[in-house]
């Protein structure tokens, strides 16, 4: 049978996921293999070395750098306090003493007789890594972090902004094609992950942030609204570290586009359950897409890995068109010819034949469709 590979986002009713949670530098892992953890459980912590301050004591006193040790009141390794002296000149007969105070708390790291600089280090900064998902610790990476296994539903979005958050799923629309208008959002959604349909506009998203909604999952969002949200035009799709109150995950793309039926009905069926979401997106080598993880510890696992839409495109496969013309349309594959065909643009490409939802038939570049569920 004719068969082709095409990109597709993963949507799974039930699967087992493994999430690695690692510290940026070595530290302490504070959970053990076999522990059950919830999304907010701290699994590892460490201290980042404090920020460094450089103070040119020699130039402040107008001394040659090699004379620096003679004026220092603290030596390398000594603790220092903010606004307390670290160097004092002798002055004339005890008068006209010059003093240099520390700009911070911490320790004195080194004194350089070449540059006249004194290097001060602020106190270490604690960092903690939480579990992000409810699950079980299945592996401990000594001094680095853990792997957590979680059984449940898993949905990838196409693009997101905002970092990791968790909350109860709340479906705010009647169907995948309905827009998530501001009027559909209310105070009861504070702390929740709200599922919309085809689109959310700026008024809606602004209201969601004001209410304190933890996450919004919708089909599409407009680029000018994204610019408003980020305060700048997003140049490169590397997101996740934005300082915004509500994480946004788009399942389909930019513009108004009905959420894929399978994605919507899966989310609808999980209403009231806790979801962990992450808007982080990175579209470069090592693609990272935003995700929704809904732990279901007591559910039965189906055969296989439960993942769908990640492999072959066959006659009968459901697809979504991901480029103009017909952008956003759904259809069914009716043919997979082998030969290259010339498009209107005169590009020679591999194609597929598609019957679109409105009943019309068309030929599209294979690169311009993605497989979807439902």
């Amino acid at each position: 049978m004719a068969h082709a590979y095409t990109p597709g986002l993963r949507v799974s009713e039930m699967t087992v996921l493994r999430k690695e949670r690692r510290l940026p530098i070595k530290g302490d892992v504070i959970v053990s293999k076999g522990d059950r953890v919830s999304s907010d459980t701290v699994v590892a912590r460490t201290h980042l070395p404090g920020n460094v301050r450089l103070v040119n004591v020699a130039s402040k006193f107008g001394l040659p750098p090699e004379d620096l040790p003679s004026v220092m009141t603290k030596k390398a390794g000594d603790p220092i306090e903010k606004e307390k002296p670290i160097a004092v000149t002798k002055g004339f007969f005890g008068f006209f003493k010059g003093t240099v105070n520390s700009p911070c708390d911490g320790t004195l790291e080194s004194i350089s007789t070449i540059t006249g600089q004194v290097i001060l280090r602020e106190p270490p900064m604690p960092i903690e890594v939480d579990a992000y998902v409810d699950g079980e610790v299945v592996e401990v990476f000594e001094n680095e972090g853990v792997a957590i296994e979680v059984k449940g539903s898993f949905i990838q979005g196409i693009f997101g902004v905002g970092g990791e958050r968790a909350g109860e799923i709340c479906v705010a629309v009647d169907g995948p094609d309905q827009k998530l208008e501001a009027a559909l959002l209310d105070e009861s959604m504070q702390g929740k992950v709200v599922i919309g349909g085809s689109h959310i506009d700026w008024d809606g998203f602004e209201k969601a942030m004001k209410i304190g909604v933890n996450g919004i999952v919708v089909g599409g969002f407009d680029d000018p609204d994204l610019k408003k949200l980020l305060g700048k035009d997003l140049g490169v799709a590397i997101t996740g570290s934005e300082n915004i109150a509500t994480t946004l995950i788009l399942t389909e793309g930019f513009g108004a586009m009905g959420m894929a039926g399978g994605t919507f009905s899966l989310l609808k069926s999980r209403e009231g359950k806790k979801a962990s979401i992450n808007g982080a997106t990175q579209i470069r080598a090592g693609v990272m897409r935003p995700e929704i993880v809904i732990p279901m510890p007591d559910a039965e696992l189906p055969a296989g890995d439960g993942m769908s839409s990640s492999g072959g495109l066959e006659i009968g496969s459901s697809i979504r068109v991901i480029r103009e013309p017909h952008f956003g349309s759904l259809g069914t594959v009716t043919g997979l010819p082998n030969d290259l065909q010339k498009m209107e643009s005169e590009s020679m490409v591999r194609v597929l034949k598609v019957k679109l939802a409105d009943g019309s038939e068309t030929v599209l570049p294979r690169a311009n469709v993605e497989m979807i569920e439902g």
Partner: protein, 599 residues
Amino acid sequence: MSENGKIRTIVATDCGSTTTKAILIKLIDGEYRLVVRGEAPTTVEAPFEDVTRGVLNAVREVEELSGHTILDGETFIHPSEGDRGVDLYLSTSSAGGGLQMMVAGVVKSMTAESAERAALGAGAIVMDVLASNDGRLPHEQIERIRHLRPDMILLSGGIDGGTVTHVVELGQVVAAADPKPRLGMGYNLPVIYAGNVNARGEVDDLLKEKTALSMVDNLRPVLERENLGPAREEIHELFMEHVMAQAPGYNKLMGWTDSPIMPTPGAVGSIMETIAERRGIEVVGVDIGGATTDIFSVFQHTFNRTVSANLGMSYSVSNVLAEAGIENVMRWVPFKLPELAVRNRIKNKMIRPTTVPQSLEDLKIEQAIAREALRLAFIQHKSFAVGLKGVQQERTISEAFSQSSSGETLVNMMDLDILVGSGGVLSHAPRRQQAALMMIDAFLPEGITQLAVDSIFMMPQLGVLAAVHEKAATEVFEKDCLIYLGTLVAPVGTSQEGKPCLKIETTLPNGTVVNDDIPFGEMVVYPLGVDESVKAKLTPAKGFNLGEGAGKPLECTLTGGVVGLMVDTRGRPFELPTDEHKRVEKLEKWAKAFDAYPA
């Protein structure tokens, strides 16, 4: 067969972030020629995590297409035996994001700029340039180093015998940051010191415990001279030793190649430099990719490379819009679309980077974006390509201090002999005329300039080949790599539409006698094929210059190509009409003159 040690069969691969490309070159009738090209997905990431899988797959495709056996199972047959095997196997790589570096120097416009030039020339992406006078406080610089996690740091500063204080201060900043490499926790970050020799002892004390420190000759030993070679070589060596060695499968691949693996852009730069030197010409080359646009130039024997890390046609397409502005992109489009639609369309290309333009309308939008990406990348290149070599003899100390701020660029479009384009949007444009128009609009060549595209983007492989077998590299480059589009004649000057601009007198190979007065504001193409050339007399109108001076005629030989002999009398500096109706009419007229799109 390898007779008398002669190289008869060569395979070269380029392991890109997404695709591994392999080419097979053979000695045919005393000349090296490309036989076939194969490709396969790069396999650096899960589930394979071994770059050699992709290399073997690409080479197998070459075997299938050429019928020449190269592998015995998973081993190269080396050297060749009869009709099997290869005599030389080479590779370049940009997989895993290429080589990402930070550079540091004392004065931003002097040693720091020289360090940046050395790193870029070696094929690195420069993530940030630290300098004592970059306006940041030391703790901000330290935070930056920690945050960026480069693959390598190049530290320079001070002329030999000069003051050591500032460069040691920079060393203190690097030491305080205690930098960690991007890939893995298990090794020390390579730091190259290429500054004042008198500060070596202090720098060693500061950094030898915390980093993998190496020392090379000062890259700016005196104010008026750069010495970038040793730093570049050390970067290549450390790239192999530290960065590549961390990437999955590279240790195996390094065992297969006959010469060290080069970073892809370093290899492209090397072939450009070789060609410019051999032919004694001034060259500009561009490679526009999905994520980045690299520009290479050789003017006055000085090679420069810049990489515009976030100007590209897929991953970075949205950044082109952000940097150029939507008006600048849309000015090249001969129809109107609402801003919301264009913005959403470009963002959708960014999040689904592998899609292709199906409609003509979409193709025109994509080529409009390409013009802006190329234009912006070239502006960056011109502002950076301010070499020292061309003026060193006259240069005084005070001139040396002002060299970058006053920044006379080396890029002189009137002197440019050939402009070479490569990368998907140029190499794979449905019609070559489209590639020619994009390059003309973005680079605005002046005078007489030959245009070419890299047919299948094999410059990286030829670059690494040039380092070990220059003859093979240049022969394949000339015969198989470059597709000549033709020669462009573009007088410098401006006037009003319809006023005299250029008189062209020649006889075309088909016998047609040309004696045309071409008014201002036109684009004209004459048939002149590949390997054809004509003698022509070109007389610019008063106020226009073709390199001989305003209004001065020029007699020269013009060579052809797949597009032909192109004449652009739209003026330099070039401006599109501001009137909407007029602009669309002009764009359509120029495209028609080139037969760029289907009717």
